[in-house]
């Protein structure tokens, strides 16, 4: 007890003698100094544009003439009653709903197939990853050639088994599928690498224990590999959702958003309003909506994955 009392007294004394305004320690200064480059870039290129975009969305704003006046939520109300907006939003959702699960499942399957540390597998992984470093222009050119009904490899391949050539990019029902196929091919590399890294983190003795426990390959995948890849899968799906909601290059270059607007994405809708029709305020409204849609989709995915945890 005596010790307690004395320590209380000394603590009290210290509190009395400490000045009210604490000096900023050199550690704090150097800490902020290290953070500063990131914070500046983050504020200038992310935070400011976000608020600037929101500000623009509340105005009628011409690309050349500049601000034409405050309109409040008028742009939002106009957009919600624009059938072209709903068409673009639906197309984008459709694209995301197709692309994200296919890319994730395919990347996982490939990562599993190529997980053994052999030279051949390393070569295959490099080949699959190489598509990711190609620009969207090249990707769309390649796939336009592949899908061409007159000279495309796909048409020729289908022709050999007696199936008539399909005009993928000009068919209202097939065009989106064609974009999904090209996008999956293009964006497979990163999730493949993430899953490969995830698989390498799983301790080998878990698989050995499973062997001794008579687990079949499916049981091993279901109860060991899949739960261990949970966090990686969440990351992959989040990245994919964010990436594919912003789809623009593929439909813009391969189909121009057609046929009959069936592949026009939200970003293309924003682009056309902003840079074709010069309605910058209205385009910013679209960007804000896209931001909210992506945020909600990502948060929903995070919520459900945490709930599973």
């Amino acid at each position: 007890m005596a010790i307690d009392k004395s320590s209380n007294r000394s603590a009290h004394a210290t509190a009395e003698t400490t000045p009210r305004r604490q000096r900023i320690s050199p550690d704090t200064v150097s800490g902020y100094a290290f953070l500063a480059p990131f914070l500046i870039v983050y504020a200038v290129f992310l935070i400011y544009p976000l608020f600037r975009g929101f500000y623009l969305s509340l105005h009628q704003w011409d690309l050349l003439a500049g601000p034409l006046g405050w309109v409040g939520l008028q742009n939002y109300s106009d957009m919600l009653s624009d059938p072209a907006f709903w068409n673009a939003l639906t197309n984008t959702f459709y694209f995301v709903v197709l692309t994200v699960p296919i890319t994730t499942a395919l990347a996982l399957a490939l990562a599993l197939a190529l997980s053994r540390p052999t030279r051949t597998n390393a070569v295959f992984r490099a080949i699959f990853f190489s598509s990711s470093i190609v620009s969207v222009t090249v990707v769309t050119l390649i796939w336009q050639m592949v899908l061409s009904p007159s000279q495309g490899i796909l048409a020729q391949a289908l022709g050999t088994v007696g199936i008539p050539p399909l005009d993928w990019l000009n068919d209202q029902h097939l065009a989106m599928l064609a974009l999904v196929i090209a996008t999956v091919w293009w964006s497979l590399g990163l999730p493949l690498m993430l899953f490969t890294a995830g698989l390498q983190q799983i301790p080998g003795d878990l698989y050995e224990a499973a062997k001794l426990d008579n687990a079949s390959r499916w049981t091993t995948f279901r109860y060991i590999t899949w739960p261990a890849l949970h966090r990686t899968t969440v990351l992959v799906v989040l990245i994919e959702i964010i990436l594919h909601f912003q789809v623009f290059g593929q439909p813009f270059l391969m189909t121009k958003g057609g046929p009959a607007g069936s592949t026009r994405s939200l970003v293309q809708y924003i682009y056309e309003n902003g840079f074709r029709d010069w309605h910058l305020g209205y385009a910013s409204t679209g960007a804000m909506v896209l931001f909210v849609v992506m945020l909600v989709a990502s948060l929903t995915q995070l919520y459900f994955s945490r709930k599973e945890d």
């Binding site: 050995e208 062997k211 008579n214």
Partner: protein, 367 residues
């Protein structure tokens, strides 16, 4: 009845052979410990028995069945891993029942067997926890429990206590010895810790470079090591080795001149030795005592007080240090000159190739 037989078992990785024709019979209910330095092939041998490593040559029989090509899960063995290898996303109960579920054991039986194993290991309160919420010792108990529920013919332990702290290791060692008695099971245990090996084993198998150097009850191996390697490997601190030259031998033993000074009669069979031959005299630290007048003299370099005993490191020459064991409160201090006494009858003798000369029954004296 022989429960497990290894016949000329070989392991190759590419062109490199790491296990060289191991022959071993392990009896039912025997506790056999594979011991040896890192890279000696003890874990590889265990993994070949488990079915986790393909066998490059020879045969492994469990009971009457040749199991070379039998998958790990069908061999009737269970293994406890060094890193526990518990499934992180399952509770303890799920971990323990996983193997039984995979062979479609009825749910009531699974529950009963898991509860039994949990009671044996006193881990009932942990059954609904996940591995990340448990200490190392608790995880290792669960890993053992997972092995027990399968009621295997043979238990395999791959350095299971290496990741535990010293106190827990001692506790788990006792637990394992109790478990062996209680389960009456055949157990094969791999370790590089000779204290674990000595305390747990019915029979120790000392391995070096993929070959069995010696096998037998721990006390036999400690008292009668067959060569310099086994002699040096078993015992902590290790046996002292003193270079010597044979001067004569007769029916009572061998006369040697120690390089560090002194003449010694060792009651060992020296029939294979000839005068002038270089040999090594082996001397356990517990058989060397400081004395007023001794055979060897040197300078006391280090004094290690261990409580119940004191280890004295005495430098005899430039390359020669002898460790002697003294009482707990040793009066000796570092830096002093010291004389050492020992009996020739406690000495081991190794020929030029490092092989032990067989013991003769009669005692001998120091001159």
């Amino acid at each position: 009845m022989t429960d497990l037989t290894l016949r000329r078992v070989i392991k190759r990785y590419g062109d490199e052979q790491v296990v060289h024709g191991i022959d071993l019979d392990i009896r039912e209910r025997e506790f056999v410990v594979f011991v040896g330095p890192s890279g000696c092939g003890k874990s590889t041998l265990l993994r070949m028995i488990a079915g986790l490593e393909p066998i490059s040559g020879g045969d492994v029989h469990i009971g009457d069945t040749r199991v070379n090509d039998v998958p790990a899960g069908k061999r009737g063995v269970a293994m406890v891993f060094q890193n526990y290898a518990l499934y992180p996303h399952m509770t303890v109960r799920e971990n323990m029942s996983f193997g039984l579920r995979n062979v479609n054991t009825p749910k009531t039986e699974i529950r009963q067997r898991v509860d039994e194993a949990a009671a044996i290991l006193r881990i009932e309160p942990l059954l609904e926890r996940r591995p990340k919420d448990m200490s190392g010792g608790q995880r290792q108990r669960v890993a053992i429990g997972r092995a027990i529920v399968r009621k295997p013919k043979v238990f395999l332990f791959d350095e299971p206590l290496s990741n535990l702290d010293a106190k827990l290791r001692v506790q788990m060692r006792i637990e394992l010895a109790r478990l062996h008695r209680q389960l009456k099971a055949t157990m094969i245990y791999v370790t590089h810790d000779q204290v674990e090996a000595m305390t747990l084993a019915d029979r120790m198998v000392v391995l070096r470079d993929g070959r069995i150097e010696q096998s037998g009850p721990p006390a036999d191996l400690y008292e009668s090591p067959c060569n310099l390697f086994v002699a040096g490997f078993l015992g902590s601190p290790s046996m002292n080795f003193l270079p010597a030259t044979v001067t004569d031998h007769d029916a009572d033993g061998v006369w040697v001149d120690l390089a560090a000074g002194g003449r010694l009669h060792v009651p060992r069979d020296g029939s294979g030795l000839s005068p002038g031959e270089t040999v090594t005299v082996g001397l356990r630290p517990e058989h060397v005592r400081p004395a007023d007048e001794g055979t060897l003299a040197g300078s006391l370099e280090v004094v290690e007080h261990l409580g119940d005993q004191t280890l004295l490191h005495i430098r005899l020459g430039e390359d020669s240090v002898v460790i002697a064991r003294d009482e707990g409160r040793s009066a000796h201090t570092a830096g002093e000159n010291i004389q050492l006494a020992f009996s020739g009858s406690t000495c081991h003798l190794f020929d030029g190739d490092g092989n032990a000369c067989p013991i003769l029954s009669r005692d001998a004296a120091i001159t």
